[in-house]
Structures are given as C-alpha cells and as structure tokens.
Symmetry: D3
Subunit: 273 residues, 6 copies
C-alpha cells in the first residue's frame, strides 16, 4: 500500500486532536488480533502495511487464504500502546471487510467444485477505492479477480453492439487491441455466441441467461466446434442461492458481483494481553 | 468530493488504455439511472460530483433520503456517450453501496420508532476511505452519524479505564478536552454508569449489555437523578434482529456497526434511451 | 506530520538544485537548537517529524509547554551535516512561529488566572495550512483549542440567526446535529442569551460585548438559573491589553483570535558545535 | 494556486460534516469584503483562486499593492450563500495575514526612502507552506522577495566558510553554480567583504554588523573600487525600530526577517448586504 | 490527464516567481503551433489538456496519427498572452517528444509492411512517468503498445525459468493468472518454444535470437502444429537498422525498446500571429 | 526523490496484480547492474532512492559523472528477489535515459574544450516531469543546467521585446526582478546586444545566429568595452555536429536543447548472480 494511502486511512480515523490517546501513558504492550467467527483470511498484506508504518511488530502463523476457526489468532502484536490503539480500528475495518469477501468467495467456490472446475470470478462492482484489495480478497477465497479495470482486457458490451453491430465491433477490437489483451464479447443469444466465437473472441460472456439457456448455448458451441482456448463465462444475477444451477451448466467461468456487494464483515477483534 | 478523489476513483476503474471506448463513436446521448428495488436514496452529491467533473448534465427529482420505489428514475443524464460510459460503473458502485446503507438505516429507524424516539447511530466501523460518504448515507436514512473520527469527541474506552481507573480517566479528560467537545464514557456495569454520570460525563455508553441489563441500568440512573442533558447510549452486538428489544429499554441512542457492515448494495442501473 | 507534508515543506525551502550543500563535505556533526529569548515551548513533535525523516538523532530534555529561559537548549542533534543544514530553516521557522503562539497564550492564561479559572481559547483565525500545529501550540501554552473546523461542533452565528430567527435555528440544529456534538449559539444581547439557554444550547457565546455588558448578561443568566453544564463564552475584540477586564466578568471561556494573529516569532537558533 | 491546495485549505476549515451550513437555505446573495484598518493590499490572487473554485463572482477596484483606508471595500461578491460562508474564513485568514505583511513592508520601505533607495528584502524566515504567498505580499508592499529557496541563488554562509575557508568556498561556488545564478557571500568583517568582492562574489552580505561597522565597511569597499555591479546587503537583527540607522549606511539591500515574523494581521471582514 | 498532473508539469516549468510574465501586458492573442519537420502527429490529447486547463481555445484540423508535412499547423490558439506563454514550453516538450516516437514507430511499421503484417510493439523501456503517453504515441504511429505494466499480462521471463523450470512456471502461471489475462513465455531456444506452446502459452517470445534462429524456430513451430491463436513475438536488440531482417522471419510481433529510447524529438514551434 | 514520486514510478510499472512475482519464491539474492556500453554515469541518487525505499542494499564504487567502460559494474545489489525484480525496470529506465544525457553532454563538453572554456548548457527543452533529473545528468556530464524554471532568472525573450521594445523591457525587468536574480536578454542583432549590455543585462543571449555572426557580435561587444561580468550565451539550432564552429567564437556559454532531445539511452542491464 502506498505511504500516502496508509496515512490517508489513518488520518480519516484519527483526525487532528485525538485527546483520548493523551489520557493514558504510552508504553510497550502486547496484543492479539483474532477472529470471532470461522472465516477465510484475507487482507494480511494490508494489515502489515499499517503495522510496518507505525513501527508495530506483528507476527502471524497464517497465510492469505487460510481457513480460520472461531478464536484463531491472526496477529500477535508488540509495540507502543498509542500506536496499536491508532492502528486498531483501521486494520480491523480492513480485515473484517476483506475476510468477509474471501469467506463468501470460498463458500461459492466450494459450491461450484461439487459440479465443475469452473472459476468463480468477481466483477467491476467493487467498493470505490478498494478494488485492488477486494480483488485480492477474492483471490484469497479461491476466486478469479477478473479484469481490474477497463484497460486490462477489451470487453465488447451490449452498448457497443447496439451502436456498431457485433461483427464490426469485434473486427474493430481485434485491430485496436494490443496482442497482449484478450477480447471478450458479451452476448445475449446463442446465435451471437456462435458469431463471436467465429470472429475470434477469446472470451464469450453469456449475459443474464437463465441456467437452461446457458446449457443450450454451451451445447450449440460445442457442436459448432469452437476452438479449445475460447472461454465461456456466465454473468448477471448470479447469487450464492442460484449458483449451483449455473455450476451444472459446464461454463468455464461464473462471474458474481455479489461476491463483494452481498458479503458481510467477519467479526474480528483486537485485545490487549 | 475533492478533484483528486474524483480522478482517483475514475482512474481506478478506467486504467490507462481503455480500448473499448474507442470502438464506438462519441456522440451526445440520453440515459437514465434508476433503481431496480425499493430503497432510500443516498449518494446524490457524490454522483453529482462525477457528472460535473465529466461535463454530463444530470437532472434529478429527488432529494437525499427520499424513499424510492422499484423503477424510479434517480437521474436523467445528457452528455457524451464516452463520458457517460466512463462515469457509469463508479457512480453505480457508489449509489448501490450508499443506498444500501441508507435503506438498512431507515429500516432500523422505523423499527425503533415504534417504541421510542431513540437515535439510531452508526460507529467507526466503516469502509476505509468512505467514512464521510457512509456517514452521510446513515444521515439520509434518518440515523445519527456519531463521531467522524477520534478527535470529534473524547471517548473513554475500556482500555483507558483498565490502565487509569475510571475516575482519573474522566477527570483527566475533562481537563484535556476542549470545552467544545463532549466526553463519552464506555461502561460495562451500572455502578460505573453512575460513577461516570456523577463525574460529569456528557454521554454514557453501555457496552455489550443485554437488554435487561440496559433496562436495569436505566432505572438506576433515573433513580439517581442524573442531569437531564446526559445521554445514554447502548452499543455492541446490536443487529436489525435484536434491535426491537433495545428500542424498548428507553436509552437515547442505539449504535449499530451493522448499519454499514451488514448492509447490501441496492441494485441500481444505467440505461441509454 | 504526514510524509507528504514533511517533504512538501522541505522542498519549499530547498528547491531543485541546492548548490550550496555541495560546497562542503558531508560529515557527521553535532549541533544544538536553543532559544535566544524566554519562551514557552511548542512544536516539539513537528520538529521531531523532520529529524526522523532525515535520519537526524535529536535529544531533548523538555516537554511541550515547558517554560524556557534565554539560552536553554531545546534539541541536541547528531547527524549528517547536509541533513542538518537542510532541516535547519524549516524547523526553526516552525519552532519560532509555534513557540511565539504558546508564549503569548501562556501570558494571557497567566493574566486570566489572577481573577478566574476561565479558559483562554483561540478561534478559527489561524494561518492557512497550519491550524493543527497552531492549535497544538495554544494547548502547549495552556489554552483551549476551540473547535478545529466547522464540523467539530455546531455554531449558530449571526448570519444564521438573521436568516432563520434564533429559535428555529436552534431547534433545527438540535435535530440535525449528532448527539456527539455540542451546539453553540452566538448572541449579541442578554435576551438572546437567555433564549438560547432555554432552548438547550450547550455553549452561549457573547459576541462583541464590552466587559460591563458581559457582567450584566452573566448576572441575568445566573438569576434565570440556567443549567450548570451550559458554558458561557465571550469573543470578539479581546486582546492581551483588555483581557483583564474580561477575566473579571466570570465567563467560562475567553476566546481570542489574537493569540495567533498578534503573536510574534520567538528567536530560536541552530549552532554547530 | 493549485487545485489541490485550494481544496486542502477549504477542507482544513470545513471538515467532513458541516451541520451549520444545512441550517439555512442556500440562496444567491451579495456580500462585501472590506478592511477595518488602513493597510496595503496583498493576497488578491489568492482570494480570487478561492472565489473561482467555488463559483463566486468577485469584483474588485483595487490592485495588489494599493494603499487602502479603513472601510474600503476590497471585493464585492455575488454567489451562493453556502459557498460564500465556506470561503469566508479561509479567504479572510489569507487576506489578514498577507495584508499585514504588505503593510509592514510598505512602512519599512517608506522609512528607508527618506534616506536611500536601498531595497528592503525579506528572508527565508517565512511561515512553512506559505513562502510563495508571503514573498508576493512583500513585493506588494514594495519590498524585494530575496531568493525563494536554496536553489535560487548560491549563498555561502558562515558554516560553509568555517568548514572550507572563504577563498576555496567562493572558487568552488563559481565552478559549481550555473552561469544563471548569482553568488552571494555572507561576511562578518570588512576584510572578508573585500576578499569576497575580489574573488567575484555578486552579492556581499554583511551579517549582524551594527550600523557603524556597516558604514566603515561600505567606505572600505568604495575605496577598494569594487565593481559597480556588486551588491552590498545587510542582514541580521534589523527591525522597524532600528531600520533608519541602517538606511543611512548606503547599502543596496536591507534584509529583514521581521517583515514576516513581526507582522500582525490586518482586520478584514466579510459582510452580507 | 489528471488535474494534479497538469498542474505539476506547469509548476515544474514556471516555478514560484515568474517575473518575465509581468513585463508584458496580458491581452487576447492568436498563435499557431506548427511542425518544422515532416512527422507523425501524437500527443493531441495531452496538449488539449493543457489548453483546457488554462482556458485557451485550441482548434486543430488533425487527428492523432496523421502524417504532417514540414510547416503544417497543428493547433490554432486564441487566448490570454500570459496563459499561452505559460503553456508554450510544456506543450512543445510533450509534442516534440511524442511526435518523435510516433514518427519513428511509423517508419518501422512501414519497413515491416513491405514484408509482413507483423505488429511492431514497444516494451516497458519507457521514460519514467510518461509510459501512458509514450504508448499512446506508439499507437499513433501504428504500433502496438504491448502491456502497460507487469499486471496487464503474465510474462514468464528468464529469471522465473531459471528459478522454477519452464514447465512448473507455466503451470503455476495458468493457475494463478486470471482467465482474462494472456500468458507469455520468454524463450531462448526452439525446444523451449515448442514446450511453451504445448503447455498452453498464449504468446511465445523469442528472446535475443538472430534472424536465422528466429526463422528456424518459426519453421519448427509450424511443423509442430501449434494452435492458431498462439502468437510468436521476437524481442531483444532489434533496431530500425536490422528490422527488415526480422520482418522477413514471419513472426507475428516485433518488439523494439528502441521505438522510445532511440527516438528524437520532432522540432515543433509556437508563433504569435 | 519524494516518497510519492518513488511510489508513483513503481506503481506505473507494476500495476495492481503482478502475477509473475508470485511464480517464484521470494529469497535473498545478489545481483549487479552494469553498463553494456562506454558511458558517463548519471542517476546514481535516483537509483539509490528506489533501492532505499525497497530495502535493497546497494553498493557502488562510482560517483556521478564517472567515465565508465563497457562491462563496468555500477551497483552490486543484495536483497529480496521480488524487490529487485520490481525495482529493475524503473531503475534501468532512469539510468539508461540519464546516462545517455550525461554521455552526450560530456562528448559536447570535450568538443568545446579543444577550443575554449565555454560552458555547455542545456535549456528548458526537457522531458516533462524529469527536468530535475535531466539537469542533474547534464551537470554529471560536465554541463551547466541553465535555469531550472521561469522563476530562476529573468529572461527577456523575443515576444517580450516585440510587445514592449527592448529598452522598456530591460528597465522594467531591472525594477521587477529581485536583486538575487540575473537578467538575461535574448537578442538577434549586434545592435541589440550592445543596447542590452549598456542597459545592464547580466547575460546576453545571441539567438539563432550563425557562427560568423556570433564572431562579429563578440568583436563589437569587446570593442564597446562591456563590463567583464556580462556573460555572452549563444543558443538555437546548435547540435553536436555544428558545435565546434560555435566553440571557436569565444562566447561564454553554448546552450543546446539537443543535449536532451537528441540523446539516446545507454544500454544498462541487471543480472542475478
């Protein structure tokens, strides 16, 4: 995390005149950060950035993505009591939020694994300012981060197709994209899926199709013999509740904005020893 | 919102080489942003900051805090198609997240109103970087933002009391706090609540007490005749599910981190006309 | 102090091509910073931020707020000669300015103490960019920092009252303010002071009243039996010269913009050993 | 002024939750900014930056450096009441501070003009963060800004001379300085002044000499026939009180840190019409 | 370009006390920016950012990538003389540098086109801070920007292979990369190229091979029947001088750091009318 | 280099999801940075800023400005393999670019030295964002950095003279410039050169004159007996190719934008040991 970001987050929580920290003597103390719920661990690096910045010694036995049980200690801390009090809220807010995302992701991945080896991916529906950290939490949960921003891969969406037609849009993209970028096309019908595959799309995203329509499209694509490297993704309205049905369709990637926008914070605490 | 923040959020979503925006001609278009669920509106100013920055004309019939029905239009937009496409994801991410908080807050406020006029407040458990916007969303929902940071008011917490004793901590705070700041004391027993009130605390926060213990403490405080301006707050483990019980206790303020960390995004969409 | 601020202040003084620092060999040296006038010490933390950033070892025997005599050493420094030469001007500018404020504040506090235990407070008339440091210097001098910004407490000023009427303004503020914020009302007559007290203001500020008018208003308020926790503040045109008269009025707080805008720098020097 | 600086100064004064601005309706209003004391005007551009940023129309009849009488209107403003209330304190703090510097500078320049056409210059003793604006205020007052930072010109100071000897230091500077930079040498004796002149210094600064010593040195330098373009500056301990004596010595430049560190704010007010 | 970047570049050139701009009256003027050499146009958007920021009206008849002849006017400007003088140097520095890159790129693309439709790409050898603009200039010249940073695509380089072995490295990358990212493998032998292709690399980069070795490897790969979507890139030591030989090898992409690090500025001037 | 700049440059090259660095284990390694061509060393401090920031131990036997032979080691590095991989490209890009400038500068200085001791200076034609580093590279090469920005010295250019006339422009500049600044006048004829010298210009810049015209002007100026401290500079269209002719003219300073805009990167590599 950039120095300026660390300082920005601390300043947001501390303000300019924290009287409470002057009430107690500053002394060397020990503390632990532990989880009050089972969860998947994420945000380790983020937390370490704050500890390093504030000169707090932090030890952990765990790795990003570890499965923790209620009561497990995430960090053992040693340092100035004022520094630890100042790091506390910001670090716990990050950990609670990011572990929540990793935990929901892992649950979704586990659901899918029963039926398929499809990847579970998040989308660009991320909390403003935190995309990098949230996508890393999805990875910690076993998910795929999808593209980080509009420049990572070229996605031809419904609006592009409406304005251009699908064929001109794909041909234009193939010309304008760097050879290092994949081209993804969002389609709403089996016909467009076949067309996109034929025109050289690397990824075909089936948008807002119900599981049966997805299955039909997959069958048509297989029958048409599309190249092996073409990836079929499904997206739109997929939640932990209906995930199983999509997992059974045989697609390669299942994208869920809900990994982030329906996640809840894990309850994580700091306690002085 | 600061110019640098607007640009930071846009850059996070766009990156450095957005090929997709070069696929279509840039032209003047109309679009609407509407909600796909009933919700309480928040984030109006945040959205307007992006529209202003990008030269998009945005009209709205609504105010922060309005109660919207599924299908209601939040903004009518007119502007360059590329600008609207670039604002789309960031603005929707803000609106979805903030309306989610306002909506949950309003639901909790409505629950409380059946029994009491207690304020429903959020806490410092906020998403890093977004505290200002999330607290404004709580206000839009009818809640109280509580203090924005450690410097806004002086709160004497369990760790201070452990290290200092309650009486020295309060006396020290009264000396060190500005006369413009309130002093809040976090207590875990009726005895400490009475002690804090006697020593001049402005706000007494009953921490992690169950509803019955809260009621008992309220009775003791009333009996002891604490000054009228002293505010009793309850906090710790309060959720939409157990809120009613706390609303019946007669406290003045009910604080819930869950207004933010259990909220879900409202489903809000942008559509070209 | 934020890293970016430290670097900003250093860059302001150094520029991009400091030839003078290449004229001499860089070597480990000792130096002292001492005061050439009696003063109250402020800015210790600010100075330490620069020394830490530049890797200079700085020792001090003093605390923020200490009363120093002409010739007293504030810091003993050890480090690279170039680093010390680069820190010199910025650190001395901060110390001279902030000790000047602390010294004037202490003088005013001492004047008041002869007659009353009223607090001496500064205002929002602070040097742009330095409010945090100047308010800390006022605290070092024994003063009260007053609110740090418009969001710290709610102040209803003459313009609000003109536009709204005093009663609606106070009622609106009570509804809109967080329960963690105090409400202060600026009044110009005894009648309004009584009205504000009756409507639940936490702080009543008597604006631009002469000492006799203040005394009369205090008498009326006492006679009306306003609640004990209500604080009476006087502000407007109070200088070190007329301070004694206000100190005799019995108000709780005396606010003086002049603590900052009439202060003079203390003459502080750095000398190589 | 940079956008980020404008926003930084506004944020410092406003904070995150300015309830007071929600108490009154936002409407188009007129206001004036006027001086309550005779003064020299400075900070016009700084003030305009804030008005432009906030969309406030500001008209002025005056120029930087104008001599104003008590009651003179500096700006006539028209704009949103909330915007004007938000600009008010920051703009007045800048104007009060900068006009104070310009006014003291003009007074010193006028004192000098009775005896000589020497320039009155400030030094690097400036308020951290505000050097640019303070130096512009000195120019408004008729003074010379001296160098803005260590890189603007090469100054060989006492510490350089102690470590290197005066001759090697000057020779090294002549080699290392860009041909676009002047070389200034700080001397404490007539002998060193002559030596520096002989070695090609562009500016010779007589440091901490009393007026008689300055006169003697000037006589020796004239007698030695130093080149016409060499400038003689005097600096160290010069105040408005002893300025006349230095003005009589015939030096070309009189430098006074006190232009800034002994200035007092001019009392400037904003009033709604 | 971000507001903060625009202001940073202007500040770099202007500094804090530009006396020269006060020598002339500020008035509305017309000016043109024209090229003194044949060139390919790049940097149009960059230049417009500065004109917009400074309120200068700028008209152009040209598009990014246009082929200009000596004397062609790039921009017709109208605005304040001081604003134009302040934009002048920064804008010309950008245009000269970026048109230089576009011009060299176009020359290389034209060379390649005689023999093949291979893409000519730049690399990560770009001027620090200017990668975005330089890559856009390469695109203007008809080249491919390659990846913008380490996160855009996964490249397995010699050091990775040394430490891991080629097979484990590719398998690990396929697992860890997002499905939206291509995987590129840098190889130094025909054997490794075949191995990488077999393991599912999307792009195979032949590193530092001479043209004959490249031809042999291409033949082997064709013979082995690697999938059609696999892209063969050649990189390392390719200059405008030896480019033709590589263009004859039949590779799909020719990468040249020299597009940037051997380019020369085009001579572009601003003239007042 | 400022922390924010270091982090900005690293972020530009790394992005948000560098999968490649997760492919290999992070371990302590040794590496060297060496030059593959003879060159003059520049950018040492810049490189050290990155190594320090990333905790890489870097040792060097060389100084800024040293003449290196092909194969010479510039830095021996020890540190985390991931940190070194992340620093690699940014540091090499800086070193390649800056050594290229220093090397061309040294070649030009050596050319001039055969005929004269004139200084070889660069101009304000520098890569946006890198002026400070490029000017330091010119110094490393033995050149003169000329002014860093418009505020360093006052230059009266053709446009000022067109609008004001040469005499009023110089007189105005003498009044408005600080006594610490030199005044430079750009002239296109011998007559104007004489006029400028007579009016007190410190530097006279002969703009776009051919070598013979320069010689004639020099002769006229000598004959007119201009003061010894006045510096004659020649600028405009001077390249390494025609430099010798200008070196023979006897001017004091030869300014060449081409030191920067015609330089080529030196080929510098990093190799793990």
């Amino acid at each position: 995390m950039l120095t300026s970001e660390i300082e920005h987050y601390l300043r947001e929580d501390i303000g300019y005149n924290d009287v409470s920290c002057t009430l107690v003597p500053d002394r060397e103390v020990n503390a632990v950060i532990f989880t009050k719920e089972d969860c998947i661990l994420a945000g380790l690096d983020v937390a370490m950035s704050f500890f390093d910045h504030l000169g707090i010694d932090a030890q952990t036995q765990h790795l990003q993505g570890d499965s923790l049980r209620k009561g497990d200690v995430i960090f053992s801390l040693q340092g100035s009591s004022i520094s630890i009090l100042r790091a506390e809220r910001v670090v716990l807010n990050f950990l609670g939020h990011l572990c929540g995302i990793a935990t929901l992701t892992r649950r979704c991945v586990d659901t899918v694994r029963k039926f398929s080896d499809a990847r579970v991916a998040c989308t660009r529906k991320t909390t403003p300012g935190l995309r990098e950290y949230e996508k890393m939490a999805v990875i910690a949960g076993g998910g795929d981060p999808h593209r980080f921003n509009l420049s990572d891969a070229v996605m031809i969406k419904d609006n592009h197709i409406k304005m251009m037609g699908i064929e001109p849009a794909i041909l234009s993209a193939r010309k304008k994209a760097s050879f290092t970028q994949k081209i993804e096309v969002e389609v709403e019908s089996t016909g467009d899926a076949l067309l996109a595959a034929g025109l050289g799309a690397d990824i075909i995203m089936l948008d807002n199709m119900d599981p049966d329509a997805v299955k039909d499209t997959m069958a048509s694509l297989r029958k048409a013999g599309i190249p092996e490297h073409v990836i079929i993704e499904v997206s739109g309205g997929i939640t932990p509740e209906n995930l199983e049905e999509y997992a059974r369709t045989g697609v390669h990637v299942i994208s869920m904005g809900s990994l982030i926008h329906r996640s809840r914070w894990v309850d994580i605490s700091l306690e002085f020893m």
